[in-house]
Subunit: 358 residues, 2 copies
């Protein structure tokens, strides 16, 4: 078992990592509450600039003396395609009207700017001596890996297939998060098509652990002691939970998002790329259904994300769940509104019960 070394390396009391949830869900309050309760809290820097990240790190440091981590998105090259842009604008226009949004010209993200921002985020992580850095959507460069290793920062990659897990180990990262098809939010797939990267954890973990040596962290649909113990049987040393923390009091998710999750059933989440240009799992709603047919004609990530931002914001402000991205994993029926402390206690108690009861 790789459990002991992972506990030490991540300074954990419990084998639980809070999934970084970008767009304001992972608040400094949530990150610190998780870290203060023996788990690893995470800051989601995916959509932040270096200034905003620095601010969040300082806030978290004020609230906890324990370890926490930062997640970054590895930028991928992209170009703006006029045709896709036109399609998207045409489809979004009637939604702007119905939500009474005066959509001004959106300033579109630029690939080279994303890369520069990513390097600035890493600079902040090094400068602030953040002990753990996780990566989504790809691998950091060997230069970057060398810099982080020099600072003894724990590097964790995110894989959705066995091949991706092998590449993460080969690149020299310390651990790997295996994201199952059950997971809420964005798919981390980077070496395959999004369809090929949809492997359930029951299949993904036991296949991966036969071929890699670094510790595995299981992510996707895990929200209770049962999921925690099952993940450990499959070969994971720890779990990463997103949706379970999303409905916590300390999370920055809107009340309407939290309510949508706690009221949803297992069959009500779906995969869509219409919000951001990249496949992500959330609760089905009008926006997803309207856009479904056109999904493959829309701009890539993060351009589509920029284009839908005003819609998502207005929908949330108007308490209208039909045009928001209601990210959720496949276990919404296990969600509760509670504090992070209550959630962690409950999961650990249940894990022990399961263990003793089998």
């Amino acid at each position: 078992m790789k459990q002991a070394s992972l506990y030490d390396r991540l300074h954990l009391t419990h084998p639980i990592i809070q999934a970084p949830m970008a767009g304001g869900i992972s608040t400094p309050e949530l990150t610190a509450a998780v870290s203060n309760n023996g788990c690893l809290g995470m800051i989601a820097a995916g959509y932040l600039d270096s200034k905003a990240l620095l601010k969040q790190i300082k806030e978290v440091k004020k609230k906890t003396k324990n370890w926490f981590g930062v997640n970054v998105f590895v930028p991928n090259d992209y170009e703006i395609e006029d045709c896709a842009l036109h399609t998207s604008k045409t489809l979004l226009e009637p939604i702007h009207e119905s939500l009474q949004i005066n959509q001004l010209d959106v300033s579109l993200p630029e690939s080279k700017h994303d890369v520069a921002n990513y390097h600035q985020l890493i600079d902040v992580i090094i400068q602030e001596n953040v002990p753990v850095c996780t990566f989504t959507f790809g691998l950091p460069s060997s230069d970057l890996i060398r810099r982080l290793k020099e600072q003894d920062i724990v590097m964790i990659g995110t894989a959705t297939t066995v091949k991706e897990a092998i590449e993460i180990e080969r690149a020299g990262l310390d651990m790997v998060i295996l994201q199952g098809s059950e997971a809420g939010g964005h798919r981390a797939t980077f070496l395959h098509s999004e369809e090929e990267g949809l492997i359930g954890l029951m299949a993904l973990i036991p296949q991966a652990i036969r071929l890699i040596k670094i510790p595995v962290i299981a992510a996707g649909g895990i929200m209770d002691g049962r999921g925690l113990m099952a993940s450990r049987c499959l070969g994971a040393a720890a779990v990463q939970m997103g949706t379970a923390f999303l409905t916590c009091i300390e999370s920055g998710a809107s009340d309407i998002h939290k309510q949508a999750v706690t009221k949803a059933t297992d069959s009500q989440t779906t995969l869509t790329s219409s919000f951001s240009g990249k496949k992500a799992r959330g609760i089905n709603n009008t926006f997803i259904r309207m856009m479904q047919k056109h999904e493959n004609d829309l701009p890539v990530f993060p351009i589509q994300n920029a284009l839908t931002k005003s819609i998502r914001t207005a929908s949330s402000n108007q308490n209208n769940r039909e045009f928001m991205s209601l990210w959720s994993g496949q276990s919404p029926m296990l969600a509760n509104i509670q504090t992070a402390e209550e959630l962690i206690e409950r999961v650990m108690e249940e894990a022990e019960e399961i263990w003793n009861g089998i």
Copy 2:
């Protein structure tokens, strides 16, 4: 835990059920070998008539004194749509040519004939006093449930969502198989769209067991002791394994199918309805890729199944893996060519190791 009662009720030494694999994969040799090794062997009657089923039951009874079961497909009403039929024939014609098949007029299945056949299969199960009957693609009628209950035949339904599991319990069935999105072969979904019924086991089991009391059998991607113990942690009393038995010596799968599975990786399976008219998971190949765009324009199950039969047979006979249905779950990297006895021993040994090692 519902483990003890399930062991008794199914006369099991080990909590393993062999998945019924229609189309000649579940041979009497496989069924009997599984039952002779303390697990539950299954006859797949999905595509059989009553005469063929009777023959298989008699063969299995010659080879084992232990309990075994029969799986039936619950027939659903369907009609032949001329347009879909025309589309399918047009698309399949060039494949017939390339495989040098002289396709004569296929006699198409009829809904009312399927229903009559289903009732004849049940008659054989009762008459032969088969102790266990599992159902796929729907619920048996209350009349039928009453008849089987009178004979004390254990009835097991198949669910892909929490709602389906609840309906199976409500109808009075004794147990439920929860089929995760990881599973190979046909999706059992009957109350939802096929997309809605794709829940990973890590999410499906813990949500379902909170709302049902009957024992749960986990199915999908489970091929080793890790998967068995993980399923038990999640709340399942036993597991059903398909792909793991498909590559066994006693299975009737062609060598080319067995080889394709043992050589595949986790990301190489996909869902397709092009072979049968109903979504099923198998290893990606030329046929699936060629038909993908047209999937929604093809006839429903089992009409499309009848239309592709000659292609699947010819492809197999020609050792050409590109036009066969290479059903497989998402864990092909765990598959081995071995006897059923070796597989069962290995799984149980590993389960104990996992248990002691955590």
